[in-house]
């Protein structure tokens, strides 16, 4: 049985600089994987390599046993972004629909089956109450739910989520993390979620992939989320504590340390 995704001795070079190299990584179907690391380390680049948006300079990468490429309906993508422009006048439901047939040329007849599929997936993420409102008017948490639906609607078996919890308040971070965990486990969807704050997702993840210093090690949360490892990876003092209920909590100066003017 082949892994959901696999990197073999992979490297990416951008603007003449090696972002990361020697990456060997395998993720099984249905795993919820957190991608952590300081700003500018190459987390977004890792997802883009999996989407075929950024070419490898060395090695190989495959998704569900096939070479990667654009337009793969098996893979849903939620890019790192600022919020939608408040003036963007298109309904949430239209945005989800674009995830289904937005790449198709030409005219199409109205399709009840497609409408049903869109409604179903919007229901799954809990966005039904505001599906007819303009996307720009929605709150950050509501927008993330709509975008999740958009990423899932084509029947994706893998989700690449680039900092979906960014700019959300704590309650929403918690709620969206739980929702993603639920989708991952109930639908058997493999999830790669990039985050720079570990705490809100710690209770939900199966594995941690670390992008730092040009390398991409990975491990179980208990192995990676330790004071020593995190301090080394972030290059800043970080402390991992165990709360009385057994949960891990990360504290310290691990907020984005950027070595570049604009590392997004």
């Amino acid at each position: 049985m082949s892994a959901a995704l696999r990197f073999e001795r992979a490297a990416v070079r951008l603007g003449g600089r090696v972002v990361w190299s020697g990456v060997d990584l395998e993720v099984e179907q249905g795993e919820f994987v957190a991608v952590l690391g300081p700003n500018g380390a190459g987390k977004s680049t890792l997802l883009k390599a999996l989407l075929g948006l950024v070419p490898l300079s060395h090695g190989a990468v495959s998704v569900f046993g096939h070479p990667v490429g654009r337009g793969n309906a098996d893979v849903g993508y939620l890019p790192q972004r600022r919020r939608f422009d408040p003036d963007l006048r298109i309904r949430a439901v239209d945005l989800v629909r674009l995830g289904l047939d937005g790449a198709r040329w030409g005219l199409s007849l109205p399709s009840a089956a497609k409408q049903r599929r869109v409604a179903e997936i919007i229901e799954l993420v809990g966005a039904t109450p505001y599906q007819d409102r303009a996307i720009g008017e929605l709150s950050g948490g509501e927008q993330q739910r709509v975008l999740l639906a958009q990423a899932l609607v084509s029947g994706a078996r893998m989700l690449m989520l680039d900092e979906p919890l960014d700019s959300l308040d704590l309650n929403n971070q918690q709620a969206i993390s739980e929702l993603i965990r639920g989708i991952c486990k109930s639908q058997g969807v493999t999830v790669l979620l990039v985050a720079h704050d570990v705490n809100p997702i710690l209770p939900f993840i199966d594995r941690v992939v670390y992008v730092a210093g040009g390398h991409v090690p990975c491990g179980l949360p208990d192995e990676v989320i330790t004071t020593d490892t995190l301090t080394r990876l972030y290059g800043a003092p970080v402390e991992v504590l165990r709360a009385s209920d057994g949960r891990l909590v990360v504290v310290g100066q691990y907020e984005p340390v950027s070595h570049h003017a604009d590392g997004h």
């Binding site: 989407l51 948006l53 654009r70 337009g71 309906a73 893979v75 993508y77 939620l78 890019p79 972004r81 939608f84 422009d85 963007l88 006048r89 298109i90 309904r91 239209d94 945005l95 674009l98 995830g99 047939d101 937005g102 790449a103 198709r104 040329w105 030409g106 005219l107 199409s108 007819d132 409102r133 303009a134 996307i135 958009q150 990423a151 084509s154």
Partner: protein, 273 residues
Amino acid sequence: MFGGLLQFHFMQNAYLAGTLVALLAGAAGYFVVLRGQTFAAHMLSQVGFPGAAAAVLAHVSPVLGLIAFCVAAALGIGWIGRGLEPGHRAESAAVGSILAFSLGLGLLFFRLYAGSAQAMYAFLFGSILGIADRDVLVTLAVAVAALIVLAWVGRPLVFASVDPDVAEARGVPVRLLSVGFLVVMALSVAITVQIVGTLLIFALLVAPGAAALQLTPRPLLGLGLSVALALVFTWLGLALAYFSDFPVGFFITTLAFGAYLAVRGLKAVRAWA
């Protein structure tokens, strides 16, 4: 009273060309506003001015000069702005540079042009008098071709406009579409200039789309509304100009501005109530 409206050949031509213009400007305008490219539309229209003047100097249909200059400018912006999001600041800078150059050219052609100032005036502010049979034919060909292209690329174009990163990952050729749409915009501008002139292009290429997007966030309905508004502005504007002897550009811009104000007012009242 309206019986006399179409009794002269020049008015028949104005209505024929005006209807085609409104169909394309309304449809393209919806995307212009959705993509936040109103400045590019403005710039393309100004580039049209020297194009039309050059065509008159060369004794060919001014629409052909408009098309040549506008499309060249569109490809220019597309080339300079490659790799940038639509409406990006660097694109604005590129657009601004081309704009200044084209106005300089326009000045030169204006100086070289020995005929009456009436034709130049028409290019700047529009006219109901100046549309010849050959212009109607060119307008028909351009409008039909551009509308077919828009219908074909409409859905991926909406995707690329509202969500370029995801669209690209899903296999939409975002950059190619961006240049392609600039060319469609250039064609729309080129034929629209005949009716409202280069300085008043916003009235047909931006105002209907802007009003429609304020009225509804539904893409198909918005597109339809934008076309309907452009048609109403044009038909009414031409009729008012014919019966009053005041310039058509004044009436169409006034109708467009009035409609936009009404829509904003309606929204404000709704939000307040």
